[in-house]
């Protein structure tokens, strides 16, 4: 996989590669933007912030494209790379203190009125940011430990441990809510 999306510079040989065209980028965006938007909304709890981070994610991808062109032939790796950029952006945002996740109530119309047995927003609010991310990647994106590790920058062992804790907390929530025994 390519280098993490923080720092680094383009080599002259890589810079000589043609930048991605608008049409090719549109195809890539259509295929990958929606899952990343869902991930960002679940992680930060606000659609406006999530949309801004989504734009920034793809912006960074475009700016680094010459050194990432090899990923074009490997869509799963490219997808993981995008999740990695999004994860780094979320982490930077939290570190800068720009906003605590779920600190503000979600905007009207953003909170889905689901006829589901589980109040997902309440569940996500109960979890730590990292746990939310891991749970989302495991359950919604169906990633295994190695893929989650590549998408978050954590080691596989850490992913395993943190995911186990996140699952335990989610199960606790479900049993507390009386959804499961």
């Amino acid at each position: 996989m390519a280098n993490p999306p923080c720092g680094g510079s383009l080599t002259p040989a890589a810079a000589a590669i043609e930048p991605i065209g608008e049409a090719a980028f549109e195809i890539l965006y259509e295929a990958t933007a929606r899952p990343i938007l869902g991930y960002l909304i679940a992680a930060c709890g606000r659609r406006d912030v999530a949309e801004d981070l989504l734009q920034e994610t793809f912006c960074r991808l475009l700016l680094r494209w010459p050194s990432l062109a090899s990923l074009d032939a490997d869509p799963p790796a490219l997808r993981r790379y995008l999740f990695r950029i999004a994860t780094n952006l979320l982490r930077d945002r939290w570190r800068s203190g720009a906003g605590e996740p779920f600190a503000e109530p979600p905007e009207q119309g953003i909170a889905p009125n689901l006829d589901a047995a589980v109040d997902v927003q309440a569940l996500l609010r109960q979890l730590r940011p990292r746990e939310r991310q891991l749970l989302w990647l495991a359950y919604v994106e169906d990633m295994d430990h190695a893929e989650i590790a590549a998408s978050t920058g954590l080691s596989r062992l850490s992913v395993r441990t943190l995911l186990f804790r996140a699952r335990a907390r989610a199960r606790q929530f479900l049993s507390r809510e009386g959804v499961t025994s």
């Binding site: 259509e30 899952p35 912006c59 927003q121 749970l135 359950y139 919604v140």
Partner: protein, 126 residues
């Protein structure tokens, strides 16, 4: 000592299934509106790319400006001190003298600025 009995792995499966279904339903609901238009992202990236290119291009100009300013300040300081001495206003001050390496540095700096200016002028005409 009584240890709490861990539930078997399969006991967690219904909760896992429920969690998966709920999270996926939530994902479908929150992304129903779709992401921002691709043109917006493209425009933002283009603007950023141009800003970065501009900053990169301006770097040598900034360095040249800094060297030029430094040379001008040093030359002005030396010229002022020389004038004061020649006018007999500052007889108590030591006569300003340019040490040879300092003079060479000043000339080299001025030459560099002039060369940079010529280079940029030529580049701007192409």
């Amino acid at each position: 000592m009584n240890r709490p009995v861990q539930p078997p792995v399969h006991a967690t499966v219904p909760a896992d299934d429920l969690l998966r279904q709920s999270l996926r339903a939530y994902a479908a609901a929150v992304t129903a509106g779709g992401p921002v238009p691709v043109s917006l992202v493209w425009f933002r990236a283009e603007r950023r790319r141009r800003a970065l290119a501009l900053r990169r291009a301006q770097r040598p100009v900034r360095i040249m400006q800094l060297i030029g300013l430094l040379c001008a300040l040093l030359a002005a300081a030396w010229g002022g001190a020389r004038f004061i001495h020649l006018a007999g206003l500052g007889t108590l001050l030591p006569r300003p003298n340019l040490a040879e390496p300092f003079l060479l540095l000043l000339i080299a700096g001025s030459g560099l600025v002039l060369l940079g200016c010529c280079g940029m002028l030529l580049a701007s005409r192409q």
